[in-house]
């Protein structure tokens, strides 16, 4: 299948290994990402003030690109827009629903973007995890070349995949989609308390210590629950949980580091894909010794 794909800014820089491993894993499952032409930043966070229509311009403009792709025949009758980054997923989906519910807002946006084709509200924002589920986790299981049975993985959902309820792709309190994926990869999922606890998000700029405190709680909870590593789908969570371990270690010298990977890196490992595509050298806490000890590299 071919599906329009929105990368977002971070997947082209610090999270390039997320994009590479996702595209390669999808290809192994006959899913082809067709990147939007001329995409723009979604704004990362959704505008929450009622009168703030302006900040819906950026997300909606990307949705117009999907309509254009359908018109040009780049994709065939596929109005779903695939995202990898949890923040982009949440922000784009919230805007897509807002303009669907508030037609007056859509009129204002279309008037403002008078040089663009009118947006009709027909694009649906989806996350790669949803497409994997729809495609069938059994198909993933058939592609597994390296069994992850000795690797205990704690799936970290964070906030943006799950909340608010009308946006989330799973139950906000008891999600299971990551566990289903891990089971398909033959990796025993770790059940743990902090899987949907906030990592502190953008507070990482002004309130590093708050983020380190949250990170310490999340990471040690994973470790106490028996995890060897954590997986995520958000480049901001990845930064706060992976790179910020440097600060955590300073505050808590007894803290032992734990690798944080994108879920697609783990898929690529299980599928036996090329090292270059997995990009394990891009992760802050080096996951290579752990993976070697489990015979996975």
């Amino acid at each position: 299948m071919k599906i329009p794909y929105y990368p977002g800014c971070t997947l082209k820089s610090t999270a390039k290994h997320f994009e590479n491993s996702a595209i390669a894993s999808a290809k192994a499952l006959d899913i082809e990402f067709i990147e939007l032409p001329k995409w723009n930043c979604c704004g990362v966070v959704t505008p929450l003030a009622e009168d703030d229509i302006m900040h819906h311009v950026a997300p909606v403009r990307n949705m117009i690109r999907v309509l254009e792709m359908n018109k040009a025949g780049t994709v065939s009758n596929e109005k779903r827009l695939l995202t990898l980054c949890s923040m982009c997923f949440n922000t784009l989906k919230r805007s897509s629903l807002r303009v669907k519910e508030k037609i007056d807002d859509l009129d204002i946006l279309n008037d403002f973007m008078y040089k663009e084709e009118d947006y009709d509200g027909s694009v649906e924002i989806v996350h790669f995890l949803e497409i994997l589920k729809e495609n069938g986790f059994d198909k993933i299981n058939k592609k597994v070349k390296k069994s992850l049975k000795d690797l205990k993985v704690a799936p970290y959902y964070g906030c943006m995949l799950l909340r608010p309820k009308d946006i989330g792709l799973d139950d906000p309190e008891r999600p299971t989609i990551f566990e289903e994926l891990l089971s398909a990869l033959n990796a025993p999922p770790v059940d743990w308390r902090a899987k949907n606890k906030c990592c502190g998000s953008f507070l990482t700029l002004e309130n590093k210590e708050t983020v380190a405190k949250l990170g310490h709680d999340i990471l040690t909870n994973a470790q106490k629950s028996g995890a060897d590593m954590i997986i995520t789908s958000c480049p901001l969570c990845a930064f706060n949980l992976d790179n910020r371990q440097k600060i955590i270690k300073k505050i808590h010298p007894e803290f032992e580091t734990i690798p944080v990977l994108y879920f697609t890196q783990l898929m690529a490992i299980a599928f036996g894909l090329d090292k270059e595509l997995i990009g394990l050298d891009k992760n802050f806490i080096n996951p290579i010794p752990l993976l070697e000890s489990k015979g996975l590299l």
């Binding site: 971070t10 990362v44 906030c159 906030c198 998000s201 953008f202 002004e206 901001l236 930064f239």
Partner: protein, 134 residues
């Protein structure tokens, strides 16, 4: 004896403004404390999310001096748990906007250390600038 709180015009207008800006019917808040109970950053706040709701409800503008609205990371934990269906993150945003729209920035971009800028992913910078600058 029941106590009556009489709101002056200024307080009523403040409540009205935040209600409009957030789109939340703040008077529905029962003060049950569920939002405060689940808030991941409550330890670093000076007033709890439920206190923030109460202060807005009685039109107390000193709520704008509190740290709490700036520490709300919009994780929406309280949003999915509120028994009254209220979204406290939208109220926090309305309070932030009330300050930011007077061209008062919470973060000074030129004061961010260069080594931090080199390390932080765009996603963190764009999100923080959207939330903390005018």
């Amino acid at each position: 004896m029941p106590k009556t709180i009489v709101l002056d015009k200024k307080s009523v207008n403040f409540l009205k403004k935040i209600t409009e800006l957030s789109g939340e019917i703040i008077t529905l808040c029962d003060q049950c404390g569920t939002c405060s109970g689940g808030c991941p950053v409550i330890e670093d706040m000076d007033i709890t999310p439920s206190q923030l709701m109460r202060m807005v409800l009685i039109g107390d503008q000193t709520v704008l001096q509190s740290k709490t609205m700036w520490l709300c990371a919009t994780c929406n934990t309280c949003t999915v748990r509120c028994p009254r269906g209220l979204d406290v993150s939208k109220v926090a945003e309305a309070l932030r906007q009330t300050t930011l729209r007077q061209s008062i920035d919470k973060v000074k971009i030129d004061e961010i250390p260069k080594e931090e800028l080199a390390e932080l992913p765009q996603i963190a910078l764009v999100a923080a600038f959207r939330k903390l600058t005018s």
